[in-house]
Symmetry: C2
Subunit: 200 residues, 2 copies
Amino acid sequence: MPAPIDFYFDFASPYGYIASHKIDALAAKHGREATWRPFLLGAAFKITGGAAPVAFPIKGEYFIRDFARSARFHGVPYKYPSKFPISSVAPTRAFYWLNARDPKRAKDLVRALYAAYFTADVDISDAEQTIRVAASAGLNADEVRAGINDPAVKELTKVEVEKAIAAGAFGSPYIVVDGEPFWGSDRLDQVERWLVTGGF
Amino acid sequence: MPAPIDFYFDFASPYGYIASHKIDALAAKHGREATWRPFLLGAAFKITGGAAPVAFPIKGEYFIRDFARSARFHGVPYKYPSKFPISSVAPTRAFYWLNARDPKRAKDLVRALYAAYFTADVDISDAEQTIRVAASAGLNADEVRAGINDPAVKELTKVEVEKAIAAGAFGSPYIVVDGEPFWGSDRLDQVERWLVTGGF
C-alpha cells in the first residue's frame, strides 16, 4: 500500500471538521489511509503571523457565513458554536493519549469531539467537557482525565504540534499527499486529482 | 433574464485571473451574465487588516505553489510573475475608462492584461506597459494614455473601488450571486450550485 496521507487539523477549525467527514473515504477510494494529526493553530499563527479568520472585520462575517454554507455544500451537519474559536489543547491531548494506544479509536474520538463542538455547542476547550464527550464515546472518564493531565502526554502533544508546524501546517485542514501540501477543505478536489494522477 | 453576477477581482490576483477564465461561461450556462468589477485589494486591506498571502512566512511559500497548481487544475496557462504582487491602479483605470464606452471590449482588455501579467511577466503596474498591452489588443495607445490620466476616470475608478469594498469585497475574486457572496476561485463549485438551486 502506498504511503498514508497526512491529515493535519485543529479541533476548533470548521473546515478541518468538514474535511474529517471526507478524508478517510477519499483516501480509501484511492487505496490509501489517512493519518490524523491534530495540532494547535495558535502555535502556528505565532510563527506565520496568521490569525483566526473571524478576527478580521468584514472578512470575519463572510467566514461565519461560509463555514455554514460549506458544511451544507458538503452535506455535513453544522451549527456555529456560541464560543468561537476556542483553545484545542484539551481535545488534542486526549487524542494523542488515546492514539498511542488505539489509533482507530482515536479517530472515533475526533469525530465525537468535532460533533460535540460543531453540532451540539459543547465547549471542548474545557477539559471536563472533552472528558464527558470521550466518556459518551465509550472511554473511561478517569482514564481520559489522567491521560490529559499526564506530563508525558503533554510532552507528546507538544512534540506532535511542533512536527505539524515543521511539516508546514499553517492552517486547517492541511493535507499532505506524497510530499505535496494542500490547505483547506476546498482543496479536496485537487487532493483527489493528485491521488489519481500522482501529480499534475 | 435574471440579474447579472457581480465579479470583483484585482488585476494582481492569481485566483482572480483563474476565475476570469471561468466566470462568463459559468454564468452563461445558467442564463446569466457577469458584470466585471476590478477593484484594488490594497484599499480593501486597509479596512480589513488583510495582506497579500505571500507576505506571510511559510504560508507565502504555500501560496506560490498553490497559485500554479490551481491554474493547472483549472487548465489555465500561468507563470509566476517576477514582480508580485503589484499595484493595479493603471490597469484598473484603463478598464473603467473603456468600460464606460464598451463593456464587452473592456472584458477583452482584462483578458489581455491578465495574460500579459500572469503568462508573459509584463509588469502592468507600469502605466506604459498597460498601454502597450491595450494597444496590442487593438486600442489606440494615445487614447488609453489620455483615459488613464483623465481626472474623471481617476474619480470613477475611486468610486468603483469604494463600491466594491462597500459590497463586501475583501479578497479576489469575490463573486456575488443574488446577494450571496463567494470568495475565491475555489468557490466556483458553490457558485454553480447556487445558480442551479437558488440557494442551499
